[in-house]
């Protein structure tokens, strides 16, 4: 063994990558096999258990072996940049979504599975997020939205938010022609999910980018006209008021 750089590369291959067995057999660091395997076991247990704990439904519906196989590929191909163990499920789920989008074939359940893992990882992220002070309650066209610090907007093709212990198979999560738009947020320290119409989702995205509510709604209505789709403005406003009342929107902010 020579420099620190060599030490790092050897530990990376030994503990995280798929070259661990060869390094154990080759007696890396001049160490006994059980000591080399111990480091691999410690690292792998930390990484895998953080992900496993976050995905109980995916493990139950997809099986332990399927999750383990995905995690192995994730660890082999990704460099973990986060310093927070709590971010591992989220990093894994993002990787899995991209992997499923690239490799799935029509008729398989790869996307449903990846979306379920993503939704479960999101619960960890949302329930540990810092929430925001709650502010203005009056909705008007001139206000902008301040989303709560825990709020995440998700769009899924499969109804992964409906999975319960009674759900017996991934195949029951049939894809929908219309995507499921979910506002996920923390409420009373618990994970809360509010399905919303696609138009509401678009308004939330525009407002997150700084648009006023009036401008965001007008843009969605104009887009609907162009596509020949009617937008119920009253329904959009009601949804915003409800999200504010639930705390997913922290404040309607009056112009200064």
């Amino acid at each position: 063994m020579t420099t620190l750089k060599d030490v790092e590369a050897t530990f990376r291959a030994l503990a995280i990558g798929d070259g661990g067995d060869a390094l154990v057999a080759g007696g890396a660091f001049g160490a006994a096999p059980e000591r080399l395997r111990l480091y691999r076991s410690l690292v792998q247990n930390t990484l895998r258990s953080a992900i496993r704990r976050a995905c109980p439904h995916a493990r139950r519906l997809g099986g332990e072996a399927r999750l383990e196989a995905h995690v192995s590929r994730f660890l082999d191909t990704s460099k973990l940049e986060t310093r927070f163990v709590r971010d591992l499920p989220g990093a894994f789920s993002q990787w899995l979504l991209a992997d499923a989008a690239e490799h799935h074939r029509d008729g398989d359940d790869a996307v449903a599975y990846a979306e379920l893992v993503h939704f479960e990882a999101l619960e960890v992220e949302v329930t540990m997020a810092e929430t925001s002070p709650q502010g203005g309650l009056s909705l008007s066209d001139d206000v902008t939205l301040e989303m709560d610090g825990s709020t995440r907007l998700c769009i899924y093709r499969h109804p992964v938010h409906t999975v319960t212990l009674q759900t017996s198979a991934l195949s029951s999560l049939a894809p929908s022609a219309q995507p499921y738009v979910l506002v996920c947020f923390q409420r009373a320290e618990a994970f809360a999910v509010e399905p919303v119409a696609a138009a509401v989702g678009k308004v939330l995205i525009a407002c997150t980018d700084g648009a006023t509510v009036g401008a965001a709604i007008k843009a969605v209505v104009d887009e609907g006209i162009a596509l020949g789709v009617s937008v119920d403005v009253g329904l959009v406003r009601s949804a915003l008021v409800k999200l504010r009342r639930l705390g997913a929107i922290a404040a309607f902010v009056e112009p200064t």
């Binding site: 503990a15 460099k79 310093r83 927070f84």
Partner: protein
């Protein structure tokens, strides 16, 4: 910024590692025998919800000591400036008087391992660790301390370079960086078992502790471990620092020895912390351990 530490009146006291699984019981307990808590900022930075609320409640009852998990002293990765700035704000908000992390590698070859990986006891590692400690101290504007970690193998230094022993390596780093030491007595025991013959374990720990510049020790860690392998006579030959079992008598004895060394050098005992991260028992069992620690620390004052 000096490397010496204002320990804010915690010397001679006993504390407990604050863990999510313990928080509820600890916060409901009327007068648990502890004078401070220790947290890992990585577990609380930017965290709200129940975990954030528990920490806020704990802060109202006890002083908070902050101990990092990913300092990556001697790592090659550049300092994460965004994370360090957030950490600085967190430490200030929690009234930290010093910040400690482990003398090891955590970030390997561009990725995080989330494990405390051993360094070669080489000049290169010592110089890089000292520079890293100074750089972090400058950014955090707080004194820093480095902890001796447990190890199960020892990477060799480059060919032609004589490896230092652990005490010499630690001394080299802390004197070069002018920083403190967080002395983990259990880790010293674990390393002695893992790298000494069974008959020499206790003397190896004592020699390690005697060789340290104890005037730089700002805090002591105590914990339990797991025996992974034994020899034919039942003596442990490989132990793992799990923080998942009660402390054993030999480690209590080594704490008493350590505190005697402090006294012999005219030093006040530093704060002593009980770490328990896994197989967390009912609080009552930890209270028994805390009281035993208090008795030992009290006897040394």
């Amino acid at each position: 910024m000096s490397g010496r530490h204002d320990d804010s009146g915690l010397r001679g006291t006993v504390g407990l590692g604050f863990r999510a699984a313990l928080a509820d019981a600890l916060l409901k307990a009327e007068a648990p025998p502890l004078s401070f808590i220790e947290i890992a900022p990585e577990n609380y930075l930017g965290v709200g919800g129940a975990r954030g609320r528990h920490l806020a409640m704990a802060r109202e009852r006890w002083p908070v000591v902050c101990h990092g998990l990913c300092g990556d002293f001697s790592g090659a990765a550049p300092i994460n400036e965004e994370l360090t700035a957030a950490l600085k704000g967190f430490l200030r908000a929690h009234g930290a008087r010093w910040y400690s992390d482990h003398l090891c590698l955590t970030h390997v070859d561009g990725g995080e391992s989330f494990e405390l990986l051993p360094l070669p006891f080489s000049e290169e590692a010592a110089v890089r660790a000292a520079a890293r400690v100074r750089a972090l101290r400058d950014r955090l504007e707080l004194p820093l301390a480095v902890e001796n970690v447990s190890a199960y193998l020892r990477p060799s230094p480059p060919p032609g370079e004589q490896a230092m022993d652990e005490a010499s390596f630690t001394r080299r780093v802390v004197e070069e960086a002018d920083c403190g030491i967080l002395l983990d007595v259990n880790n010293a025991y674990v390393n002695a078992v893992n790298f000494s013959s069974p008959t020499q374990v206790h003397e190896a720990v004592r020699a390690f502790i005697r060789a340290l510049p104890l005037e730089r020790v700002v805090q002591i860690h105590m914990a339990g471990h797991h025996v992974e392998a034994t020899d034919d006579g039942g003596a442990p030959t490989l132990v793992v620092d799990t923080h998942g079992a009660p402390m054993i008598d030999p480690v209590y004895d080594l704490l008493a020895f350590t505190l005697d060394e402090f006294a012999a050098r005219g030093l006040t005992p530093p704060p002593v912390l009980l770490e328990r991260d896994h197989n967390i028992p009912p609080l009552g069992e930890l209270v028994v351990e805390l009281q035993r620690l208090r008795t030992i620390v009290g006897g040394a004052r």
